[in-house]
């Protein structure tokens, strides 16, 4: 049994919170560059140029690329042969968030009660999804999730007879309805199957995938590419001001489901598609 002390987890989470917000991943940056080359609309091209410029400034100056430094979302894979010592894992992750958001001068965007709405002033609690896996490694994936895009997400419990056309129609409806609000060009995370909550978690997990990687299942990869084409034909464009590039990527995750159901969840991410992972 391998031991990991919570102090190591706190430090790592703190670093991730800061780095993910200061430095846009190479995968996203590369995609923004190719989007700029493809974009025909002058306003759209100018916006994409400024977004690349913005990412360079934030990295150089070590400051957040976007003021919405998000609610802290984690997917944590815990090897079943690990022993966490020195404290509670969830509390350690929250402490890392607390320190990262304070020391990194990140925005505190979390309110304690959804009705009373007092800011917790330290961006906790984080949203944490745990998976128990084989082995003795701890893999922590992190995404600061902005709510301009989160608010534009959707879930629909389709009928099996709705099939692939029903799925496409729903994803396109969500994207069209979102328009300019989620800061296009967006990344579209889609979860298909499972139960209601499973589909939503799959959609979120899809946003953690590197841009440029596709689902390993061939017919799902095909659906990802077809949907991306159709989304880019809507004309919504960068910042919703018209253009050829509305989405950078469509990432789909699937899971077995019930004979009576076809749950589909769509979770949208903005162009500042921040995500990173570490393994301890």
């Amino acid at each position: 049994m391998r031991k990991i002390n919570v102090s190591e987890i706190i430090d790592k989470v703190k670093e991730m919170c800061i780095k993910a917000n200061y430095e846009l991943g190479e995968d996203v940056l590369k995609k923004l560059q190719s989007a700029k080359d493809k974009e025909q609309s002058p306003i759209g091209k100018d916006i994409l140029d400024k977004l690349i410029w913005n990412a360079n400034i934030s990295k150089d100056k070590q400051m957040p690329m976007c003021q919405d430094t998000g609610m802290a979302v984690f997917f944590v894979e815990i090897g079943q042969d690990i022993y966490i010592e020195g404290g509670n894992l969830t509390e350690a992750i929250n402490e890392g968030v607390r320190r990262g958001y304070k020391e990194g001068f990140l925005r505190k965007s979390v309110v304690n009660d959804p009705i009373i709405r007092e800011n917790t002033m330290d961006n906790t609690p984080a949203i944490i999804h745990y998976d128990l896996v084989e082995g003795d490694r701890l893999k922590i994936s992190f995404a600061p999730k902005g709510f301009g895009s989160e608010n534009m997400s959707g879930l629909k419990m389709l009928k099996p007879s709705d099939g692939i056309e029903g799925i496409k129609k729903f994803v396109l409806d969500v994207v069209k309805n979102a328009g300019a609000n989620p800061c296009p060009p967006i990344v579209v995370g889609v979860g298909i199957g499972g139960t209601m909550e499973k589909a939503c978690i799959l959609a979120k997990k899809a946003l953690f995938r590197k841009i440029g990687e596709f689902n390993p299942i061939k017919h799902i990869e095909k659906l990802e590419k077809e949907l991306l084409d159709e989304i880019n034909k809507t004309g919504i464009g960068p910042q919703g001001l018209g253009g050829d590039v509305t989405a950078l990527s469509v990432n789909i995750e699937v899971f077995p489901t019930h004979i009576a159901g076809l749950p589909v969840a769509v979770n949208i991410n903005c162009h500042a598609a921040r995500h990173m992972e570490v393994e301890l």
């Binding site: 609309s41 002058p42 306003i43 916006i47 400024k50 977004l51 410029w53 913005n54 400034i57 934030s58 100056k61 400051m63 957040p64 690329m65 976007c66 003021q67 919405d68 430094t69 001068f105 990140l106 925005r107 505190k108 965007s109 709405r117 800011n119 002033m121 301009g148 608010n151 328009g179 300019a180 609000n181 989620p182 800061c183 809507t234 004309g235 919504i236 464009g237 910042q239 919703g240 001001l241 018209g242 253009g243 903005c270 162009h271 500042a272």
Partner: protein
């Protein structure tokens, strides 16, 4: 696409010249307010109380900035999505607000009020918070400090780059450009 430099406060002459699609650089004092501050301001107006700043001819920027690093004026400070302010906006436009900076489309009620009171809605580039913070030369919290990032700040900006999204005639860039596609 015209490029126009303007200084605050706004007035009817400036607004008349602005058309949807124009690129505008704003210099002068503007005020920040987002969801929670809007709710408080509108509650104040309903109770016939005064607002924390003179709203006549002013511009509100929908932003909740990051805290400044030591030696900096402000942290990252890009626009937040505007539609969440739509329920409050007609009341503020009636009270004298002339301009708004945000991102995304507005409701019919807001657009009707923009026309009725001769106002303008600007779009800033969402997610370009680091770039925009360079244009902010001073920042001071003037109200609702307990709201944290949602407090009202008085900002002095120089050449803040925005695009006229909805002009005083009601022309709406979000509709025009997507329709023309």
């Amino acid at each position: 696409m015209k490029e126009i430099k303007i200084t605050t406060p706004l007035n009817d002459n400036i607004i008349k010249k602005l058309n949807a699609g124009d690129r505008v650089y704003i210099t002068g004092t503007i005020y920040t307010a987002r969801d929670a501050a809007h709710k408080r301001m509108v509650d104040s107006l309903k109770n016939s109380e005064s607002l924390p700043f003179d709203i006549n001819n002013s511009i509100i920027y929908y932003v909740g900035p990051c805290p400044p690093k030591p030696g900096h004026v402000i942290g990252s400070a890009g626009p937040t999505t505007s539609y969440r302010m739509d329920d409050y906006t007609p009341i503020l436009l009636k009270a004298g607000l002339k301009g708004m900076i945000g991102k995304g489309n507005r409701s019919k009620e807001v657009i009707d009020s923009i026309i009725k009171y001769n106002c303008v809605y600007f779009a800033a580039i969402g997610g370009a918070g680091a770039l925009i913070s360079n244009c902010i030369k001073s920042s001071e919290i003037i109200a609702y400090e307990d709201l944290g990032t949602e407090a009202i700040r008085k900002l002095y900006v120089e050449d803040l780059p925005v695009i006229v999204a909805i002009d005083s005639k009601g022309n709406n860039l979000y509709d025009i450009n997507i329709r023309n596609k």
